[in-house]
Symmetry: C2
Subunit: 517 residues, 2 copies
Amino acid sequence: MSSRAPHQGYVREIEIGQPMLGNNLSDGQRLEMALTQELDTDHVHVPWHLVPSLPSRLRQWGFRAKAVLFKDRRSWRLVDLLPPDHETPLLGAAVDIGTTRIVIRLVNLETGETLGETGLDNPQATIGPDVLARIHHSNKPGGLKELQELVIASVNRDLEMLCREQGLAAHDIFIVSGAGNTAMTHLFLGIEAFEIIREPYIPCVNIPDTIPASRIGLDIRPGGLVFLFPNIGSYFGGDLLAGIIYSDLDKKDEPCLVVDVGTNAEIVVGCRDWLIACAGAAGPALEGGVSKMGMTAGPGVIDRVSIDPVTRQVEVHTIEEQPPVGICGSGMIDLAAALFLSGMIDIRGKFVPETCKDRLTEPDEIPAFVLVPAEESGTGKPICLTQVDLNSLTSSKAAMYTILEVIVKNTSGLEFGDLEKFYVAGTFGSFINPESAISIGMLPDLDRSAFEVLGNSSLGGAALMLTDPSAFDRVMAIRETITYIELNVNQEFMNMFSGAKFYPHTDRARFPSVPEV
Amino acid sequence: MSSRAPHQGYVREIEIGQPMLGNNLSDGQRLEMALTQELDTDHVHVPWHLVPSLPSRLRQWGFRAKAVLFKDRRSWRLVDLLPPDHETPLLGAAVDIGTTRIVIRLVNLETGETLGETGLDNPQATIGPDVLARIHHSNKPGGLKELQELVIASVNRDLEMLCREQGLAAHDIFIVSGAGNTAMTHLFLGIEAFEIIREPYIPCVNIPDTIPASRIGLDIRPGGLVFLFPNIGSYFGGDLLAGIIYSDLDKKDEPCLVVDVGTNAEIVVGCRDWLIACAGAAGPALEGGVSKMGMTAGPGVIDRVSIDPVTRQVEVHTIEEQPPVGICGSGMIDLAAALFLSGMIDIRGKFVPETCKDRLTEPDEIPAFVLVPAEESGTGKPICLTQVDLNSLTSSKAAMYTILEVIVKNTSGLEFGDLEKFYVAGTFGSFINPESAISIGMLPDLDRSAFEVLGNSSLGGAALMLTDPSAFDRVMAIRETITYIELNVNQEFMNMFSGAKFYPHTDRARFPSVPEV
């Protein structure tokens, strides 16, 4: 107890006071006392299942033990008590419960080390591709259970697999920490979700309790716990809160911004003193706007494009350098930037026949830019960007910029230049080239050093919760602090949106670093 | 919410705030808010099993509900949520878990009314008659489980039966409140008990958590809770704490005393400012002393005896006025008093042949007093009190008086006359005639109006816990306040004990109201 590292985690070696005559304290009370002293707290909840055999175990272990703990919004909780010489690694699992993709990370609770990671398609997609379809399904008899069981079964399978790779087993996992949007959180926990999508959009639960993992069918250590990040509302999920603690936004001295480009654009701006968030569908004008850019990456998918501004020679890069089969979101942004900077699209985002020349075709009476001719393509067909695709990208980038502008300028009263850091989160975000995104006016024209890729911040936050006992308090404090704004798609917003639909913007002065074509 | 009765119980009608746009509170949060407002508290724990279907139920019920609650040492807990028009009585069950006898009372949680009561022999007696034998058995493989299952099965059977008598079912029971000695508490909960009887006599648990009743096999409402009274130590059980709150000792202005004559003599003296308790085996000198008096009452058992001091005519009364088959503890006390007051035993508690005359026989070379001759007996054999029985009674009454003296005079610094009330608890205590007990010097010579029979105070306290939300706090406060003393059987104690072995005492002045023979 003498010297204590500043950031001790959830595994502690404890020594329990030996019983003696003239002291009526029960074994349970002496255990609690050892734990409260170790943790410097008032109360540690000892779960019932550890109680009945406490006397024999404490005596067998010489009144020493390894304690696996967790701290949630209410109090410290003892998860399990192990022999002092227990050597098998004690595991936790972080789960990013995405609508499309689920990512699982196995963590050593004692060292904080990542032991393995795996991703899987959310199997609920077989029932419905999006949140709306799944919630509708959950409202049918047995539908909720079916959806929950699908995702839990997949997670169980992958947890077992990840553990096996380490020569361990799923029962070595003591805590599962999950983060997802509000709907995914409800479906994972098997909670009625239909009010989320029905006015006035009320979740059943915003702060789920820490519960025994077995309650939702997770097949880990008996008595092991599962915890899901709280939501703020139906359109502001735990994945975002996870992202905030992962980015340390709530600890920053100067305002920073986190944007997660997933199914929706979700943005948080702020610092230790204040936080403003906006998330979710930005009204009918932008319906499907931001989301349409995010295409799934895979081998042969074009992720980088460049066009020589002088020769207009097109170069593409594909994932795993396979013959090209399609283009993903980051590739689209590169392509649009390259087309604009080489004068092949105009400031309205329309193809310029004079500069596109024979790359421009019109197969179905819609202009289309041939990015890869049929003979170089992995599919045998040309890979094209139609004017419709480009319009959609234009809407998306304009939506993104407008939302950023609304939250940073109109709501926070800042200028983009006041942002010390601009974090781009999410798998899609990881691949965006900021240079290109700025060139088309999707991201503001900040010093490039301000941009930082966060990666899967939802997973990162969920993993942080497995090793940092202060994390839950931070999440709860953020919930109290944060201002969540609904985007108000009024006339002013539409005017801003119209300006942002130009390349890079009607107000050219906002993008001084983007070369004039 | 406007007018509130001062002592509202555990069933409340609540109204949950309707959801509306611009308010992100989840159904769960609005339920919590309704409960915390109703209960004027910070936090109410909503159990997980009520969460998943909350949205549909709240809407079906028009955002009104009947809440069944419980308050334990940590916080308020929601036990169940029912439709606002639920009309079936909501039940609780109080259980006095005696070593010999278990008594169950069915209570209407809403009205506090007792609906039924039943008693059964503790089925663990088939394994061992006393705590020691049962704890030894619990240490054998499967023994603990066997003991627990025996008692739980019996309680389940009787709960079902009690409910059926009311046209209800065991699933109408939401809370079970139990009180027993420390060993019985451990065995009921299925907790390792062997350290209780092994130096330094450490219970596994002193403050059992409130847990789902299903965790220990109690077959009540799914999600229903079971709660057992805390112990203070291995020899100071929850039954005594239950007795204290039932007697209101902790609320008295002037010192009072509660004595429970069960397997041991257990005594608490005090008032709202202080409490002193002593309980358990009083050392080898008194081993089995007090306990041997308590014989089981039943039809034909002699419970009252009188002897005409002049004619020395013996009159006996039997339970249900059946032909006599034996004598119970209260009958023994009556008999000893009558023998003493009619000069048939001397002040040392020895039979006086001159006055006993032909009632005194010596069948096995041990003097024996024929209480009922063979021809009047229900067994065909005479019912006798041997000198050995009488010696044992003498030790018992001396032990009782000495313990009372130690705790009242030596420990509390009071005189017996300072006691405003002298409560006699326990089934055995209910039948003791204070006049007789004073005559033999077992109880102090107080004004007879000071004596009050409490009945089964353990059951009474357990029942109180089902209807009074302040009860748990009182129990916890009593645990903090009470001084528990171990009887120190030293030379001084033995001297006091020796004096008390006389009838009524060597110091005759202590018993001014007992007639000189």
